[in-house]
Symmetry: none
Subunit: 415 residues, 2 copies
C-alpha cells in the first residue's frame, strides 16, 4: 500500500485561529484510492522549518501533499521553501503569469504587483491549474517521491486535488496493490450508541471490514472499511456489509452513497414528480438553504417563506391571528397552519413548516429554548410533531432543519 | 519566548475519520500564556514513528505536548513509545492502579484486565491525574525539555491540560518572558493581495507586531500578532496597529472584534432602530440563515421570501410578470422590483433582494453561472448592482449572500 504524508503551512493554523480541516479531507480521499496517510505535520511561516519538514515527509512517504503558503504576500513562503528543498531556482512561468493576468481582467480588477510572485515556480517543477483563485499549485519530483503543493483555502484546494492530483496519485499508486474500499451509510433517527448496539456482532476491531462511526448533528455515518488484494474483492466485502447493515437498520438508513438528507429528499421528489414549499420561523432560511444547495432544486422547490415575525405569519401565509393569540407562535396549531397555508398558497404537493425557539433567549418554563414544532403537509393532510432539541442556537437550528427533511423523506418513501 | 510542539497520536486522525481539534485548542491556550507553537505533528499507531516524532519535536521546542494513545487496547502505544524514547522501562505504579480500580468500583463495573496496562509508567516519569477517565497523563523530562502526555479524548485532555499542565508550563515559561496579543480585523470589498499592497510598509516578517492574512469567501481577516514583555505592552502595540490599519483601509474593515458581517449589520440595524426584509432567489434561504444565526435577530428582521420560481416572484412579491418576461428573472430590473416589493410588503426600513444563477447548470453566454444582481432598497430608494462570482455553487451562493450583507452595511453606515 502506498503511503502519503501531509504538510499544512501557516502561522494561523499553529496559533489555533484556524482548525485544519484539509488534512482530514485529504486523508479520507487518499484512503479511498488505497493510499494510507502515515503522518501529517503543520509548520509556521518559517522557511527553514518548512524545508526540514518536507525532507522528513519525503523520507517517510511516497507522496507529499502540501497545503498553504502560496498566496501573494510576504508570509507566503512555500514556493521559496520548495525551491530550497529541491535546490532549484525560482523562475517566472510566462504562461502562468498570463493566466493570472487574464483572471484579473475577467474580474475587471487591475492586477496588484504582488500577484506576479504567484507566477514563479522552482525550475523543473510544473504548475497545477487553479480554476478558482490566482494561486496555482505545484507538482514536483525528487528521488522518486512526488510532491504536490496546493493552496490552503479549502475549496480551492479541494477542486485542484480532485481534478488534477488525485487521478495522478491513483495512477502512480495503483501498482502497489493492497486495495481499500470504504462505503458510507448515513442514518438518521437513532443515536450512535444505539446503532452501535444494533451492530455489536460486527464491531470487532480485527474484523475485515472494519466499522467506524462519526456523528454530525444527528446524522450518524457508518464507515465500512474493507481491505483486499484487489479493488473488486474489497468492494465485494464492503457491499456485503452495507447490505447487511441496511437490512438490519431499515428506514434509519437514508443513503448508501454519501448523499445528504436534502439530496435524498430531492431525488424522491424528482422521481415522483412532486413539488415542495416551505415556511420557516426559527430556522430563518436554513432549511431553504439546505434544499437549494442541491443543483437542480428548482425542479421541485418553488416557494419559501421566512415568517420570522408573527405579523409575517399572518399577512404572508394567512395564519389566523387568533391561532397565534390562543396557542402562541410556537405551537402545534401554528405549525400545522403554516404547513397547510404554504402548500395551499404555493400550490405544491408537499409543504414543510418549522416554528420554534432557537435560543439562547426567548424560552420559558413551558416553552424552553430548543422547543420546535415541525409540520408536514401532504396529499393526505398535515402531520405535526413536537421536538425539544439540545445544544446551542446553531445546533438547534440544524437539528430542526434536518429533522424536518427526515420527516419528509419518511413520508415520501411511504406515499 | 518559549516554544512548544504538539503531537497527536492515532490512526483515526490520519484516516480522516476524526478532525483534530485538540491542536488548535492547545495552540490557543499556549499563546495566551506567551508560548508559541512552532510545529504540530500527527502520527499513526506505529511505535518507531512515534519515537522518531518525539525526538523531532523535542529538538525544535521547549515543551512537547502529546495527545492520544493512552487507552487500554492494543493500538495504544504512546506509553511504550515514550519509554523507548526515554530509554526507560515500564513499571507498574501501584498508586495509579489503585485509582483506576477505584474508578471502576465507583461505576459498579468489573475492571477489564486490559485496563491494568494503564497503570504502567516509564521509570523516572510521573502520572498526571485524570479526573474523568481511566487514562492518566504522563509528565517527563529529558535534556531540559518537558514532555506531557494526555488522553486524546478532547474533554479529558482539556480538563487535564487546564488543571495540571498549563499552570506548570506557565511557571516554567514565565522566566523566558514574552507575552503575545492577537487582534483580528475583518475586511470585505478587496482581495488579500490588494489589502497586502496597501499595508506593504508594515509587512516585514521581522517587524513586531507581525501581520498575517487568511481569506474565507471574500472576507479577508488581518491577524495582528504583537509580542512584548508584558500583556499590557503587547496589547498597546497590537491596538496601535489595529488603529493604523483601520484608518488606512477605511470602510473595507467591517469589524475589529471578530464579528461577522451579519453581526455587524444586526448591530447597525439595532442601533438605528431599523428593520429589514429580504427576498432571495438563487441563495434560497442562505442570506436569511446568516441573518437569523445571530441571537436577537427578531429585533430587526421580520420577513423573508424565498421566491425560487418565477411564479413565486409574481404571486408572493408582486413582481410584474411583464418585467420577468422582458428582462428575465436574473436581471437588474427584477432585482430592483424584488427589493422594492419586499420592503413595501413587509413595511420595513430596508430590504435586500438577490437573484442570480448559482450553477453549475442554467447559465448562458449572456448570463453565465455566477451572474448575480443584488438590490438594496432603503429610505432613499433602491440601488441594484451586477456581480459575476466565481467558484462552485456553494461559493457563488456564499459570495452573493456576504456581498449583499456588505452592501447593506455600507448603506447603513452612511444613512
Amino acid at each position: 500500500m502506498s503511503q502519503a504524508s501531509i504538510i499544512a503551512i501557516g502561522n494561523e493554523i499553529l496559533t489555533g485561529h484556524t482548525v485544519n480541516t484539509n488534512a482530514a479531507y485529504l486523508a479520507g480521499k487518499l484512503l479511498s484510492i488505497g493510499v494510507s496517510v502515515v503522518s501529517d505535520h503543520t509548520v509556521g511561516d518559517d522557511i527553514n522549518r518548512i524545508v526540514q519538514t518536507i525532507g522528513l515527509a519525503a523520507g517517510e512517504a511516497d507522496f507529499v501533499l502540501i497545503t498553504g503558503g502560496l498566496g501573494p504576500t510576504e508570509d507566503d513562503l512555500t514556493r521559496q521553501a520548495l525551491a530550497k528543498y529541491l535546490d532549484a531556482e525560482l523562475r517566472l512561468d510566462s504562461g502562468l503569469l498570463k493566466k493570472i493576468e487574464e483572471m484579473f481582467e475577467s474580474r475587471r480588477i487591475p492586477m496588484p504587483a504582488n500577484n506576479k510572485l504567484q507566477a514563479y515556480l522552482p525550475s523543473g517543477t510544473s504548475a497545477i491549474t487553479n480554476n478558482i483563485g490566482t494561486a496555482a499549485g505545484i507538482s514536483a519530483k525528487r528521488q522518486g517521491k512526488s510532491i504536490f503543493v496546493m493552496p490552503g483555502v479549502p475549496y480551492e484546494m479541494k477542486q485542484m486535488f480532485e481534478e488534477f492530483i488525485l487521478p495522478q496519485i491513483e495512477k502512480q499508486a495503483g501498482k502497489n496493490g493492497g486495495m481499500l474500499v470504504i462505503r458510507k451509510l448515513n442514518c438518521f433517527g437513532a443515536g450512535e450508541s444505539k446503532i452501535a448496539e444494533m451492530l455489536s456482532d460486527i464491531a470487532d476491531r480485527k474484523r475485515n471490514p472494519q466499522i467506524n462511526y462519526t456523528v454530525n448533528y444527528g446524522v450518524v455515518t457508518i464507515h465500512i472499511t474493507a481491505r483486499a488484494d484487489t479493488l473488486k474483492e474489497a468492494a465485494k466485502l464492503a457491499d456485503a456489509d452495507a447490505e447487511l447493515i441496511s437490512k438490519r437498520l431499515g428506514s434509519l438508513v437514508f443513503s448508501t452513497g454519501g448523499q445528504t438528507l436534502a439530496e435524498v429528499v430531492g431525488r424522491l421528489l424528482t422521481a415522483g414528480k412532486k413539488t415542495l414549499a416551505i415556511a420557516e420561523s426559527c430556522t430563518g432560511g436554513l432549511l431553504g438553504s439546505m434544499i437549494t444547495d442541491i443543483p437542480g432544486a428548482s425542479r421541485y422547490f418553488t416557494h419559501g417563506w421566512i415568517t420570522y415575525s408573527n405579523n409575517a405569519k399572518i399577512t404572508e401565509l394567512g395564519v389566523p391571528a387568533e391561532l397565534i393569540e390562543k396557542y402562541g407562535a410556537v405551537s402545534e396549531e401554528v405549525a400545522s397552519a403554516m404547513a397547510n397555508q404554504a402548500k395551499k398558497r404555493a400550490v405544491t404537493n408537499y409543504a414543510i413548516a418549522i416554528t420554534g425557539i432557537a435560543g439562547p433567549d426567548g424560552g420559558t418554563a413551558q416553552k424552553p429554548a430548543g422547543l420546535v414544532f415541525i409540520g408536514i403537509a401532504g396529499p393526505a393532510g398535515v402531520e405535526t410533531k413536537r421536538f425539544v432539541f439540545t445544544g446551542n442556537r446553531t445546533a438547534i437550528r440544524i437539528s430542526a432543519s434536518t429533522t424536518a427533511l427526515n420527516a419528509l423523506r419518511l413520508k415520501l418513501q411511504i406515499d
